[in-house]
Amino acid sequence: MKYTLERIPEGEDEVILRYCQMTPEVERIWNLLHGNQRRLTGWKGKTRVVVDVDKILYIESVDSRTYAYTSEDVFAVDDTLNKLGQFLNAVNFFRCSKSMIINIDKVQSLKSLPSNRIEAVMCNGEHVMISRTYASDFRKRLKGGRGDE
């Protein structure tokens, strides 16, 4: 891997990670940069809660509100699905439809459906649909590519 350090006379410090393939090495650097974002803060009623992203099964947008689902709990998240997708996509999450992001590590099995759609069964038994728009990226992602190239 090539490293470049560039000193800028003024402005905000910035780290740009350029990659062709999300290799373990690149992913480790990404995780290091986002080490403080491995947790998600949200609301359960009026109580503020902090949840480890690895415990989240999926995140869904319902009526302009974003909800994260774990095996036992549901909590509202302040960020939009797009914003969450931006950093969660780099780990084990995948945008599976317009209104949902799933945790691939929490998928128990997959079923191919007509019209190139995929049905994912989550580890809690819930069924989640991966729309045909995202299905081919999902397949690429499983094969080891990023699925967004």
């Binding site: 480790r28 191919s112 190139n116 499983l142």
Partner: protein
């Protein structure tokens, strides 16, 4: 925007490219979506055309004529192409369906009837009624075969996808352990 990432260098500065909405995966555009549907319909048209052509050629050989009409073949390809649209957009792609239920069987009979009716009207089989009936049964059988082929294709696809999923999860667990 460069090929690999979503960041590009403009006027000596790196800028985030793409739609700027934080979306990091690329969705299919309307054009790509249309193209995918069109390819699927054309594939379907070719599949049914060759199956019908086989029946037509066998019929011609059986009546002692080794020549096929180009006009009939053109009619066949246009008909199968049109039927592809009907099947996909009006009959919810029943031949690729998850199950062959009552509704799908009804669509199957309807499409087979259309094929048999048009073949009779266009005189592909010399307007002989029993050949048209045989052709209707052949078309119905063809739909059942196509349904079975798509179903087994999906079963194989399931196996491959689940294997890839297990490998993906194993890789992730491996990275997590190393970290």
């Amino acid at each position: 925007m460069n090929k690999c990432g979503r960041v590009e260098r403009v006027d000596g500065k790196y800028r985030r490219g793409g739609r700027g909405d934080g979306e990091t995966q690329e969705k299919l555009s309307v054009w790509e979506h249309y193209l995918a549907m069109e390819i699927a319909i054309e594939f379907k048209a070719c599949l049914y055309f060759f199956a019908i052509l086989f029946f037509y050629c066998m019929y011609r050989l059986l009546i002692g004529n080794a020549q096929a009409s180009i006009l009939h073949m053109a009619e066949m390809i246009f008909l199968t192409y049109g039927m592809g649209y009907v099947q996909v957009y009006l009959l919810s792609g029943f031949d690729e369906g998850e199950r062959l239920g009552m509704k799908e069987c009804l669509y199957l009979v309807l499409c087979s009837l259309i094929y048999a009716g048009i073949s009779f009207y266009a005189g592909w089989f010399g307007r002989v009624i029993w050949v048209s009936i045989l052709f209707f049964l052949y078309a119905a059988f063809l739909y059942v075969c196509v349904f079975a082929v798509y179903k087994s294709k999906r079963k194989i696809d399931d196996k491959i996808m689940n294997e890839n999923l297990r490998m993906f999860q194993a890789r992730r667990a491996d990275y997590a352990e190393r970290d």
